[in-house]
Symmetry: C2
Subunit: 195 residues, 2 copies
């Protein structure tokens, strides 16, 4: 009986690749086992359960995303950095839909806090916005808006939420322009409506 040579890492990596192929929510222990040519039960030596597997895929996804975003933003500043960040972000989501979807599952806050990948992306985001002259608490608010806009856009794009015939890539470019304007004119004080 020849061994398949499974390890926790190889199983998790295969799950991530499978997610990109067939969709994150269709990644099942059974499908994964079939891919390796082993029985379902065999995977439980390497992965605690399905949730554990999904968590590992999420961590791989965060890692891969950080690896793509980091270098592409490095050495840039201002709008240049914003554009680089945005393109790296969306390109990753389009190229790795399964991994990207994995990043949307709920994780233990501690896990996120300890994850260098997650922290690296947030730090990049922070640095980017400091370049716009933002400081706390505006910084946190701006990070949240930026992440929201990016995440929302690629999520809606992924589920086909943009029915209008206008090219989505073009809208994305324009969205980045608009967000740049928003960051440049960030309303630091609660807006007092003309009185």
């Amino acid at each position: 009986m020849a061994r398949a040579g499974l390890t926790t890492d190889r199983v998790a990596l295969a799950a991530a690749d499978l997610a990109d192929e067939i969709g994150f929510d269709k990644v099942t222990i059974s499908a994964l086992a079939r891919g390796f040519g082993v029985k379902d039960a065999s995977l439980y030596s390497h992965v605690r359960n399905l949730q554990d597997l999904r968590t590992k895929v999420a961590m791989i996804a965060a890692q891969d995303m950080a690896d793509r975003i980091g270098p592409s933003v490095a050495g840039r500043a201002g709008k240049d950095a914003l554009v680089a960040f945005a393109h790296a972000y969306r390109d990753f989501a389009l190229a790795h839909p399964g991994r990207y979807a994995a990043g949307q599952i709920q994780l233990e806050p501690e896990l996120v806090a300890q994850s260098q990948a997650h922290q690296r992306v947030l730090a990049t985001c922070d640095a980017l916005l400091r370049g716009y002259g933002l400081a706390e608490p505006d910084l946190t608010d701006a990070v949240r808006v930026l992440r929201s806009a990016f995440h929302g856009f690629v999520s809606l794009e992924a589920i086909g939420g943009f029915g209008h015939p206008r090219d989505v890539g073009t809208s994305w470019e324009r969205a980045i322009d608009a967000l740049h304007v928003m960051l440049e004119h960030w309303p630091s004080a609660p807006s007092t409506p003309s009185m």
Copy 2:
């Protein structure tokens, strides 16, 4: 043998309520049948299959959301309308997490095109942005950014994506302010980087 009095509508509505209680992805034919005190197979007289049920919940959700957003924006304009839209949107997502999640599934484009609820929300969004003086193709781009920001924000909030201690509600207010600024300064022409 007394009947449970099931109909397609009642089943779908119960599914929507159950989704708000236990989460959209935990809504199962079995769980729903248990709730009604009937056998799983009985539900298949009213619903084609699980996907069909999920689609029905998504349509209910769109309807409910439109019913909440429409009246709250009606009669308002400018930033006032934007704030009303934003609050109605987030409040709905917080009050009905299961329904909101249902709205994120991929639907047949025709179904969305024919859904009055979906169209009503998009039309409200359109009207709101026309109030900012936007016209095509900027209008479509702006609608996409706005939807992205709103959807992204409540999605990230729902999965606990905002780890920072800053109050999320406050960030939301500030996000609306910032988006208002963005819409007022919408960059109509592709930004020509100083040359």
